[in-house]
Symmetry: C2
Subunit: 143 residues, 2 copies
DNA sequence: AACAATCCCCGCAGGTCAACCGGGGATTGC
DNA sequence: GCAATCCCCGGTTGACCTGCGGGGATTGTT
């Protein structure tokens, strides 16, 4: 699995919130959790993390909930994943001193760069579009 | 870290073995482990795995050791990593039934495809070349 | 003002997995 | 025969992911 459950839950929630972004309304943790079939107590942690990263905004009290802090097209997935999984420790201290490990590091950087490139170039809006496209395709198939 | 320690140890060993492939000689587990500063008892497991995957050949008894089973240019890293980390379980059973999860799956597939593409297109020989290039660059810098 | 809905914070637990260690057996060159 | 080397298999430790629970803070509604 390329993405952890934590990350998947967070992103799926963002797609749901993106769908109602225009209306300026909110969704509650329990609401999202039930619809997606994921544990609400766990999802709460993800949404809190995303709020701290200023990707979400929260409203407390009755009729409260979460909403996107900015338009979904302005939320690259790289930011979301970085917030949820935490920063990668930048090669602290003991570099393996070996020419072979150095050559391998060059490869790892290429791998990470390619991954970053995709995640920087994909926004929550893109995933929402994809969801709608898949949904309509399924509707067509159904007829 | 894009690659696990297990994978790193295995690949680094393959680079060392690629460097002596022409001579048809062998390297021993303890030899590689000491030079690379990695635990020998652990490295043994990786080399055993690579032998079972027919990437390495082993010779037992005194003066024994390991050598590549084929020319390093014919060993794509994807095979190495697949052998070391094991096959990815193919989406067993309980698909999350949700349009949002489906859209996310499409992204995950793109991520994995891009990774596979790099790992298929890079061989152990390529890493050996990179090592030699880095080594000579460092030599130039030293003068 | 009281109440209830909702988010907020923090710590804990259980399971899984990566990384590593150790014991003893099989092979084989010298 | 002996020692070097690979071979096999199981155990351990520590971290991390996933998830739960208790109680506190905020706020709309009545």
């Amino acid at each position: 699995m390329a993405l952890s459950a934590k990350t998947q839950y967070g992103i799926v929630s963002l797609i749901e919130l993106a769908a109602i972004y225009e209306q300026g309304s909110v969704l509650q943790v329990a609401e999202i959790a039930q619809r997606q079939g994921i544990p609400d107590r766990y999802l709460e942690q993800m949404l809190t993390t995303l709020r701290r990263a200023q990707i979400l905004r929260s409203i407390r009290g009755p009729r409260g909930g979460y909403q996107l802090a900015r338009p979904p097209a302005e939320i690259p997935l790289l930011q979301v994943i970085t917030a949820l999984e935490g920063e990668v420790a930048p090669r602290s201290g003991s570099e393996r001193a070996s020419a072979e490990f150095d050559a391998l590091s060059a490869l790892e950087e290429r791998l990470e760069a390619s991954r970053r490139s995709i995640l920087e170039g994909t926004s929550v809006q893109d995933l929402l579009d994809q969801r709608n496209q898949l949904a309509s395709a399924q509707a067509m198939y159904f007829i």
